[in-house]
Symmetry: C2
Subunit: 149 residues, 2 copies
């Protein structure tokens, strides 16, 4: 099948299939004489694997590792589990960062009248900086930390 059908069957866009090929996450696809990429059921299975891993927030690097383990019939499940749990820890860290922001903002908004008057504790806090530490800590982590997925 061509790339469009593989995309539909796997849930990975044609654009991304080409991208994954270009960065070496998947092997170069076979080509027809005219240069069209062709995929078989096996390739689609791999793409589905990738899509599910991506949907769980794994990065391309993590997916590379998971794919290798998936193919390695002698793998140790401990390694898969380690990757998964590391990823969970990362996700939970991001959740804590976001919760810190939401908590601060919700608190500030709760003290803002939200009417036609200009007085606003939200702006006051941004200007003068309230309890700087909690926020600053999360912010530093966010700035230096990993990106989404």
């Amino acid at each position: 099948m061509n790339i469009g059908e593989a995309a539909r069957a796997s849930g990975v866009s044609a654009k991304m299939i080409r991208y994954y090929e270009s960065i070496g996450l998947i092997a170069d696809a076979a080509r027809t004489e005219a240069g069209y990429r062709t995929y078989d059921r096996n390739d689609v299975e791999t793409l589905r694997f990738i899509r599910r891993a991506r949907d769980l927030g794994f990065s391309v690097d993590e997916m590379t590792a998971l794919l290798a383990l998936w193919r390695d019939k002698d793998r140790e499940s401990a390694e898969v589990k380690r990757i998964a749990l590391d990823h969970v820890a990362d996700i939970e860290r991001r959740i804590r960062e976001l919760q810190g922001m939401a908590r601060t903002l919700a608190h500030l908004a709760g003290h803002c009248h939200g009417d036609h008057r200009p007085d606003c504790p939200i702006l006051e806090d941004l200007a003068e900086g309230g309890p700087e530490d909690a926020v600053a800590e999360a912010a530093t982590a966010q700035r230096t930390g990993f990106r989404r997925r």
Copy 2:
């Protein structure tokens, strides 16, 4: 003061100060004869405002709006509150997405022996796709949704 000192005083890197100027978030800085940017206490206050807003996850667009409101002494606090609460809603949506991923992964990892044997429910799930819907929904939201900050 020069850009380096302003950066130290505000917590915004010199690189980012130039970037914020280039995109119009802040006004063009005054220059010395030699072309060096100069900043006064007022500019540093603005930069601090920006840093705190950024640390709370506001995007550049949101910061533009907040800065304008901060300067507008006739603002209505309702508008500030709206921006803040919209942002909180976005953050909470991201938190829910991440929680969905963490939940699924923690569940799978909980069923993985994590030893020398190759059997691994995590890989099995990625290969065959377990309860597809919950994850797929969050994933679609994530793919189509806004980025961090």
